[in-house]
Assembly symmetry: C2
Homo-oligomer: 324 residues x 2
């Protein structure tokens, strides 16, 4: 247990992941309401929209209006996702409200890369220096590297650990060659193939090769292992997680039924609270956001602790203090 | 990862836990159908009913008929629960179909003991030798010890680790004084207060005091940590789990909303399969049982992998073999 981090950083991606996949239509004002309230919970980072083709993702057609409707919150980064230059240019028009960070990305699954981006691995590699150029021209720092499908793929099966380690090294080299220094490397369990054991194997192997690289886990809960995988990450000292309030969302391109969203933010915050790991988040306020998210989408969402209730209220009623 | 067990034993408690709490009425034939099909999945142990007051638990009024309707399956133990002599005597009339094992039980929460059994700790202790007498008179071995609310309690708060270790020692002594030797000691997270860290703390402390005692975890998933807690148990070498297919059930006496059932059997089996831990269970057949359970209760149940789908079908389609 000694490797558990003292505090973690959570990237809340619920609004983007969730409103991207919900059939909707969801009123713009309600999207703004959820993102704004999330920003008041103590989360440091809320991803509020993606700038993608509105024909492909109708739920994001109002991305500009969502961002225009947000009030800045000190210490909170509102961010957005884009997949190409056109999307990035739209994001740039919101530089007053959005924190813009560049991201580089390789895929551990060639088959998924083909389906998702219609690119070969060589094309994806070649696209990265072009991204660096694009970010540099706009004065936007490259902060994140990301390996998609790092733990397995519905279209390619299990992914060898060595391949992921190799891709991490390649992406670091690409960044360095472009004069950029990545702040953290994300490992995406895009199609929910990870187990606690594979989390430990992959994170351990990357640590071995790059001891000082900060790692982030982007976990999906499709097969019920999301929180267990997050715990395995915590045990390995991982201190950054992409999560979604109430478990909103899912990957619309993974093409399997029952695709669940990211690991649930409040369930992770609850587990961390109870284990003495600081998140900076007000759990009760976050649970209220989860209930709001359910109200907005109009159906139950998978988060558990919003249903089961946190434990502090019992301790308060008993006049106790948590012992961890 | 080296302490992960090579294989685990699962006590399927879904039919008993589930049909006890569902408002119903559920036809007896459907209860039989689920238990019978669970017994064909490779599970070694299926708890099919409880002999309790039908006025208190109407869903168990047909316990005798359920058991009479079961066909024996070689290598599978059908078991039942009872809470007093009257219930045990009913179970004895089914000695041809049921595997009867005695169980001793102390509570880590005095407040929950009072609410659940209306007893003081001294009364609960004094009741155990009487239980041993009752079992001996009937020729039934005492196999299980159980500590209820071992990780926390809605009515008493956090439970000190020392208290649990002490209770385990007391229960072993009571058994020994009665000429019985307990096969395994169950730790109940009755109201879902456990975290992976507290699982490790409590299991570790009991191991320290009783290195050769086999431990079982009875986990509830009310706050979303069930599978993560099971993983922490596996990491500590725990190789026995009470689980419920599809996450059926819940404790009707814990009196909090959103009480979720035991940790979901097929989610645990999936995780173990993927980590190379043998369960002896056919996961696809078990997922079919989870879907059957949903059909029987008439509403969605919390299990994830029955929705998200297991991974072997992807590997088979790709002609791959799982690498763990």
């Amino acid at each position: 247990m000694s490797d558990l981090p003292k505090h973690i950083h959570i990237n809340e991606e619920g609004p983007r992941e969730g409103f991207q996949i919900e059939p909707g239509p969801i009123p713009t004002a309600r999207k703004i309401e959820l993102s704004q309230r999330l920003a008041w919970t103590g989360l440091g980072h809320v991803q509020v929209a993606s700038f993608v083709n509105p024909k492909a993702v109708p739920g994001m057609a109002d991305a500009d209006d969502v961002i225009d409707g947000l009030d800045p919150v000190p210490g909170v980064e509102f961010t957005a996702l884009w997949l190409n230059q056109r999307g990035f240019e739209r994001a740039l028009t919101h530089a007053d409200r959005l924190t813009l960070n560049g991201s580089l990305n390789l895929y551990a699954s060639d088959a998924f890369l083909k389906r998702n981006q219609n690119r070969t691995p060589d094309q994806q590699r070649a696209a990265q220096p072009e991204l660096i150029e694009m970010y540099r021209a706009a004065g936007v720092p490259v902060k994140r590297g990301f390996i998609t499908a790092a733990f397995g793929c519905n279209f390619e099966g299990d992914i060898p650990v060595d391949r992921v380690v190799c891709l991490v090294g390649e992406l670091l080299d690409i960044a360095e060659a472009g004069g950029e220094s990545i702040d953290h490397m994300g490992l995406g369990d895009t199609m929910a193939w990870a187990t606690p054991s594979s989390i430990k194997r992959v994170v351990g192997a990357i640590r071995e090769a790059h001891p000082h690289l900060r790692l982030l886990l982007h976990l999906h809960d499709t097969r019920g292992l999301g929180i267990a995988n997050a715990y395995a990450g915590l045990e390995m000292g991982v201190d950054m997680f992409d999560t979604a309030v109430a478990g909103l969302g899912g990957c619309p391109f993974a093409e399997h039924k029952g695709a669940a969203g990211n690991v649930c933010t409040e369930d992770l915050v609850f587990m961390c609270n109870e284990m003495g790991i600081e998140t900076g988040v007000d759990l009760d306020a976050l649970i209220d956001c989860a209930k709001l998210a359910e109200d907005i989408v109009g159906h139950p969402l998978p988060g558990a602790v919003a249903q089961g209730g946190a434990l502090e209220r019992y301790r308060e009623a008993l006049g106790h203090v948590r012992c961890v």
